[in-house]
Amino acid sequence: MIQLHELQFIIPLITICVASVLVLIVEVFSRNREVVFAVTTLSVFVALIITIRDISYSTIILNNFININNVSSGFNIVVLLSVLLSLLESRSYLIKKQINFGEYYAIILFSLIGMMLMVMANDLLIVFLGLEMMSICFYILAGFMRKRIKSNESALKYFLLGAFMTGFLLYGITLIYGVSGTTNLMVLFSNTLLHQEPLFLIGVGLFLIGFLFKIGAFPFHMWVPDVYDGAPTIVSGFMSTAGKIAAVATIFPIILKLNILDYRIIISVVSVLTMMFGNIIALAQTNIKRLLAYSSIASAGYLLVGLAAFNDMALRGILFYTLAYSFMQLGAFIVVGIIEKSSSDNKDFSNISLDSYKGLAKRNPVLATIFTLFLFSLAGIPPFAGFWGKYYLFVAAIKANLIWLSIVAILLSVIGIYYYLKVIVYMWFTDPETDETYIMSPLGTTAIILSIAGTIFFGLFPEIFFELIRFY
């Protein structure tokens, strides 16, 4: 039975739940999108502040379904942060694309509930519930530009593949339950006898596969470029940060605590292939959204390097990389969104080819500088946050005696620099072909400033985040 006082530990979650229902009601009764937007943003902000305030909570509550500790709260902070940043830029993008419906905000909040649940889950069922809540919302969001064929295509592809892969995940849970008779994660962790059982291993393997799909790892990465390309840009940014972060945040503690070395080889191989495919195919891209999509596949590979390490340093690395990633990847997508929405013809997905970035530095030096900083950070060039993220991850791999893996990872991330630089060269060293001007809304500017500040601040003082979440 749920005790009333247990609810104080999940105030952020409750805030979001209440806000999401409220948003729906406001939407149907008044159709006032300002209020909808304000409620949404405010609730996420409040949830973020409360999560930061309550960072030191460590408890298992709600009939052993929810596990709150500083790691889960830390990941929640990152997720909330990226949701907040994407919300800020969403508004002007949606208005420009004429899809500024209240449902968008409600769905964002629903997916946020799913993510937070998943991150805090102490039970496979809650994991599944959260994952599905998140995924279904993502399917809708990907197709949110319902009159655009590409958006519909991306939603359908995502839905088909997602539903298919969820089947494996569910089958994995079934097998685990079948062998152990429980879905409680704590019990599963502690019962080491179980860890020898082949069916259990296969169950966890299938479970892992479900998550590898969500974070876009090879060979389950095929949906990523198509979906990110077709979805509204801001949604792509949102999915590639918040969604991926939540998935990593869920699977990593589970794999870490199960501590079964058989998965290390699987994850290492998958991570190498993921980095290879992400980085190498990105070289040939001429569409900025697809380029960022492949770069996000590569990033998933880096995260898996940490996942393969199975140690506390890896947890550190993943926490930090996700934080840095939410700033720089989202920042990059926001810039792409700004450039896309300013296209004069407002046709289907104009202004997302690399050609639109020619001579950007001459037309709008501020925007070009900002984008360059994000790309530098994504490429892992110090002193930006992205560098430290990769650094911690690779150090974790070295500590786990996976020296070969970290060497491969470093070499492959060198390839990555090439395509980021390609964009930078387009912006700075070619002549402009158009004379479009770019309008930055105040909220979008705020989001960009926050992202830039985060990218630089955490690049200069990487340790501060860990002090914030009391993770030493």
């Binding site: 088909l160 393997g205 596969i209 095929m222 070289l283 040939a284």
Partner: protein
């Protein structure tokens, strides 16, 4: 007050941000100037209060360690953003913020009407910020951050009037020469971390105590740090950038290239004095380099005609004196001379700025003369500075220089004493030549076009600095006069270990009071006679002849720049042009790189064909992945 101490570094940064980002928007010289000056003045006040607080402690407890946050943690490497407030850093902070403030105020007048006014103040604030890190930091990495920061600001400010080609070249030269020194600093840092496992000074120095004298490792570290110091403090072989750095605005020359930044090398050696006390070989090197630099720069200064160039070579020469002091294990004396030199050299640079400003940017002393009556305050203050640097009692320079001479006599011997004395005499000679040519005699400029004048915002700092130059030396009077040497006592806790090491291998020689008085008399007589001679010789001079013989060599600065060009720069250019660029870079490096890049581009075009866009294919590939993973788990 140490609670508020973080403001000392934070406020200059704030000033930099405000003036740097909003300077154009504010577009008001007064506000910009006041913000810039206040952001240095408030730290000065805080530092003063902290100083008195330290004073109220027991001498042994006068060091406060403030840890703000952990900056980088990676494996064994743990770098904290932490400050060490002890007597030595306190002296430096007071000098930096105090003189810095005066120069900020002065700049309000000097830079009046310059289009880059706000930028200038932003850079100055940034410089103060970096310099404070340099002297306050507790670990070498943070020192290095400040070290590079001041180098950057120096570069930015030398090239401040970037429209002229030569300012850009001078800035580049300063930067490159400093980088050579920085390499030494960095390698020293690496060696320390590899061998001592820490970069914290407070952990590094105690570890040294067990080492024998002249340990090879310590010599290496000491020499490498000293290489860094020669770059920053303009010593042989890396001194040639400093005279060129005079291309920057004069307040910059006063603040960065006379009073503060160039003393960073002295500070570094003093901070790690235990290292040098343990390695007499390194100290010997420092001593020799100091002597040669002071002589070389002093002689060059005799034949220079640019008012700022004379002062620049004089600075190099005086820095040489400080290294001489370090080279005879007299660390507190070096710091003492650093402080007095900061007073009078800042004063003279600002005075020269006032002259240049009043003379409509004329810098050549051959076209000055007779300014005594027209620029009274400038003249009087400049004369005080000159008397101070020449070592005329009881001005500040006398006390510090005499202390150096005395230490050389007792720790190095009579021969060296005479050499250093000659060097001191040269100082008096060229300084009085400068004063005579500038302020005495008849006007040698076009009096119809140029009307020398002074402005009050510029003269007030001059007066304050003149007072400091006059009386600043009383804090460090020698013992035999019966008054306490407060400066030595103040610094005693910092250097006590170094001195005990030094005394362990060289017992201190007690000289009689009469011997000390004789030395003082000798130096006073020499300084006065030379000054008088120079004054007589130059105050009447009206015509200037082409230099010949050795004079020409001096005028051309011993051709050191030319030698560097032919011996170092040209060969490197040749090798890099003919071999490194055309063969190694273009053929080998580019060939390999382009080959790899082409390979991956091709691979990319092949692999992207996997991305068919058909969901069935995606599913098939996913299923293949699932099967592979399950098979692995089954068959492993």
């Amino acid at each position: 007050m140490s609670d508020l101490f973080y403001l000392v570094t934070l406020l200059p940064l704030l000033g930099f941000l405000v003036n740097g980002l909003l300077g154009k928007k504010i577009n008001n010289e007064k506000i910009t100037g006041i913000i810039g000056s206040l952001m240095v003045f408030i730290p000065f006040l805080i530092a003063s209060v902290t100083f008195f607080q330290l004073l109220s402690f027991n001498p042994e407890e006068r060091s406060i360690f403030v840890n703000y946050f952990s900056w980088i943690t990676a494996g064994n490497l743990e770098i904290n953003y932490a400050f060490l407030i002890d007597p030595l850093s306190m002296v430096m902070v007071l000098v930096i913020t105090g003189i810095g403030f005066l120069i900020h105020v002065y700049s309000i007048g000097y830079m009046h009407g310059d289009p880059g006014f706000a930028k200038f103040f932003a850079y100055l604030n940034l410089f103060i910020f970096a310099m404070l890190h340099l002297v306050l930091a507790d670990n070498f990495l943070l020192i290095f951050l400040g070290w590079e920061g001041v180098g950057l600001c120096s570069y930015l400010l030398i090239g401040f009037w970037y429209q002229h080609k030569f300012t850009g070249e001078a800035a580049k030269k300063a930067f490159v020469m400093n980088r050579i020194g920085d390499v030494g600093f960095m390698i020293a840092m690496f060696i320390i971390f590899a061998n001592f496992g820490t970069l914290k000074i407070s952990e590094f120095l105690p570890q040294l105590e067990g080492y024998p004298l002249n340990d090879g490792l310590l010599i290496a570290i000491g020499l490498l740090f000293f290489l860094g110091a020669t770059g920053k403090s303009a010593q042989i072989p890396l001194y040639t950038w400093l005279p060129d750095a005079m291309a920057g605005p004069t307040p910059v020359s006063a603040l960065i290239h006379a009073a503060t930044m160039v003393t960073a090398g002295i500070y570094l050696v003093a901070r790690t004095s235990l290292l040098y006390a343990l390695t007499p070989v390194t100290t010997q090197t420092i001593f020799i380099i100091g002597i040669v630099t002071s002589l070389l720069a002093g002689t060059i200064a005799i034949k220079q005609n640019d008012i700022k160039k004379v002062l620049a070579y004089s600075t190099v020469s005086q820095l040489g004196f400080m290294f001489i002091a370090l080279g005879v294990f007299a660390y507190h004396v070096a710091v003492f001379h650093l402080v007095t030199h900061a007073f009078f050299k800042a004063l003279m640079f600002l005075g020269s700025g006032s002259v240049i400003h009043g003379m409509k940017d004329e810098q050549d002393i051959r076209y000055m003369g007779g300014l005594k009556r027209k620029m009274k305050i400038t003249f009087i203050t400049f004369l005080i500075g000159t008397l101070a640097i020449s070592g005329i009692p009881p001005l500040s320079g006398f006390w510090s220089k005499d202390e150096i001479l005395y230490k050389v006599m007792s720790n190095a011997g009579t021969v060296y004493y005479i050499i250093v004395l000659i060097s001191a005499a040269i100082t008096a000679f060229y300084m009085f030549r400068l004063v005579s040519l500038t302020f005495y005699g008849k006007a040698r400029y076009n009096e119809e076009k140029i009307h020398p004048h002074e402005s009050s915002v510029m003269t007030i700092p001059l007066i304050i600095l003149a007072v400091l130059s006059a009386i600043g030396g009383f804090i460090g009077m020698p013992h035999f006069l019966g008054v306490p040497n407060v400066f030595e006592e103040w610094l005693a806790p910092v250097f006590s270990k170094s001195y005990s090491v030094f005394e362990s291998f060289q017992p201190s020689v007690e000289h009689s009071v009469s011997f000390e008085i004789i030395l003082i008399l000798i130096s006073v007589i020499v300084a006065s006679v030379v000054s008088w001679y120079a004054f007589k010789k130059f105050s009447k001079q009206e015509t200037f002849e082409e230099e010949s013989g050795f004079g020409k060599v001096l005028e051309n600065k011993y051709y050191v720049d030319e030698v560097y060009d032919t011996v170092v720069v040209e060969p490197i250019k040749n090798v890099s042009d003919k071999f490194l660029w055309n063969i190694f870079d273009v053929k080998i490096i580019d060939g390999v790189i382009n080959g790899i890049a082409n390979y991956f581009s091709k691979l990319s075009f092949d692999w992207r064909k996997l991305q068919t866009g058909i969901v069935q294919d995606y599913t098939a590939i996913s299923v293949a992945g699932v099967i592979a993973i399950i098979l692995y788990l089954l068959l492993k």
